[in-house]
């Protein structure tokens, strides 16, 4: 507004002048404190004994007791390994596919067909993870379509969801189905901002279609790619908990159990709340370190970053 002051404005002055504006932020700030920052502080029970019904910050200090326990816990390391594998598969397979799909869509000349493919491919994004899990069970069941295809090619029906070997393939496939179409939006938006004179110049220099894509289109969408890559790396450890929770069972657990599902079982099924919190804190700290490192590396190497 016009009354903006240059230089130092004291808090007292700012509050007196804009108290109505600050008052609008009051409820949201309280919400963040209670539902985001209080649970963060609640992580302290990773170092304190927690008694159900007692203080949410626990009863007495136990130091690194729970940390030491999970470091020696075989089941935790199994879950850790599965998390890294599923996270890596997601990053390597699911992250590049929207770029490829966006580039393919970009080569279409029929607006109607392009819009049709876009509309269809966005739809799975809006489905509840429960529905997606339902689709997975239907398609992979013994009477499902996948086994129909297996039989068509002369194979024997496979009970996919009962076999640990199949879990990662099925999980990643369902991620591809649900997220790739929606993932193209930002790339398509960036593609519309690339100056067509660049293509013209490349063509005059003798670049063919493929070289235009390689030397004009890809550099044009690189900042978007980097930002999304950093965000994806930040979520590396939080592989789709809800979906895995819905899909896995005791038979597929050897490959399917990830840190978040392990936390659920240890904490809420077995009631070892402090122990599960220690694991959760470890996971959250890794996530934070990953996103800050990815951001720092990207800023130095490519110049694009989140902040």
């Amino acid at each position: 507004m016009a009354t903006e002051l240059r230089g130092k404005e004291t808090w007292g002055l700012a509050l007196r002048k804009h108290w109505r504006l600050y008052s609008l932020a009051l409820l949201p700030v309280i919400w963040f404190l209670v539902f985001r920052y209080l649970p963060m502080a609640g992580n302290v029970i990773a170092f304190r004994r927690f008694r159900p019904g007692g203080s949410i910050f626990g009863e007495e200090w136990v130091g690194f007791y729970y940390i030491e326990r999970f470091i020696q816990d075989q089941a935790f390391w199994q879950a850790f390994q599965n998390t890294v594998i599923i996270g890596a598969l997601t990053l390597v397979i699911v992250f590049p596919l929207p770029i490829i799909l966006a580039l393919l869509l970009n080569e279409l000349r029929s607006r109607v067909f392009k819009r049709f493919v876009q509309t269809v491919s966005y739809l799975p994004h809006f489905m509840s993870v429960v529905i997606v899990a339902g689709f997975v069970f239907e398609l992979t069941s013994l009477d499902g379509t996948v086994n129909r295809l297996v039989k068509l090619f002369g194979g024997d029906p496979i009970s996919f969801m009962q076999q640990a070997d199949w879990f990662r393939t099925i999980y990643v496939s369902s991620e591809v189905w649900q997220t790739v179409g929606w993932g193209t939006i930002l790339y398509l938006a960036t593609l519309t901002t690339i100056d067509s004179q660049l293509y013209e110049a490349a063509r005059i220099d003798g670049a063919n279609r493929w070289q235009q894509t390689w030397h004009v289109t890809l550099p044009g969408i690189r900042p978007t790619m980097m930002v999304l890559l950093i965000l994806n790396i930040g979520q590396f450890m939080q592989v789709g908990f809800e979906k895995i929770f819905l899909l896995y069972n005791t038979l597929t657990q050897p490959t399917a159990d990830v840190i978040s599902t392990y936390i659920y079982r240890v904490g809420l099924t077995s009631g070892q709340l402090s122990y599960a919190t220690a694991i959760g804190l470890f996971e959250a700290v890794i996530g934070l370190v990953l996103v800050f490192s990815a951001n720092a590396i990207s800023r130095r190497v490519t110049g694009s970053s989140l902040w």
Binding site: L24, P39, Y122, L123, L186, R203
Partner: protein
Amino acid sequence: MVNTAPAPTTDVVGAETPDLSRPRPETTTVKDTPGYTVFRWVNTTILVLVAAVTLYPFLNLAARAFSSEAAIRSGDVTVWPIGFNTTTLMSVLEQDLFWRNYLNTVVYTVVGTAIAMALTTTFAYVLSKKYLKGRMILIGFAVFTMFFTGGLIPNYILVSQLGFKNTIWAVVVPQAINVFNLLVMKSFFENFPEELEEAAAIDGLTTYGIFFRVVLPLSKAVLATMVLFYAVWFWNSWFPAFLYMDDPEMYPVTVFLRNIIAGATGTGEGLSDVAVQIGANVKAVTMLLTALPIVCLYPFVQKYFVSGVMLGSVKG
């Protein structure tokens, strides 16, 4: 069905506003090389397959929902019902618990979206005021929660201790602000014409008056987008209800569906053959009814979702 034939090679002049279905502007009228013509056919085929694979589970679901149990068991049902019947549909629709849970979902969605909108719009408006002292602190305060959270157990303890278990609050309050949506709204308000607010201030309106009577009424499009984002989120949400509710009367329909799926596939306690057979049909109908509102509404509101994402990408 759709036009899969190669489009004419004339230049297409697109609108200035980002239209994502606008084809790439052609830089030249030079004839395509044979290699590129082949590529375009392959490309069209790939994209037809992408669309088909995306749609198939939906068509298969609809076909199973109206097929006889025997046909499903034989594994012959693909995209067209075999042994058409509506018995399963009727049997699901006659269940009181299903309706009860469906109604819960509607209530949770409406209440959750209302709370979310109230908190998100007010906070986003405050954060959009660049002259405000402490603005960057508040933004950092919100954004930090995108990268570091309390985790499952501390959240569970908090929500339980607040006495939210088996109440609507467990489902709607802890998820009331989505920071991504907050940033989208903030960047929208940042571009709101300042002159309008200044004129309203000269007319004697306070900050409250400006916000509620000038800014919000002129932001209907972005508000609609946010309402849709939140409504879909609450409609699809199941885990908070699963976690905090043990009274089946309070479940949203997603938990109702989850229990059917879990019971029918053996991820839950029961792994009996009977459950497997009953499940096949009932599961399909319940899934269909849960997904239906979104699938039906989706084609009409798709453009709002797309514009919401693009708004967020301006600066987020």
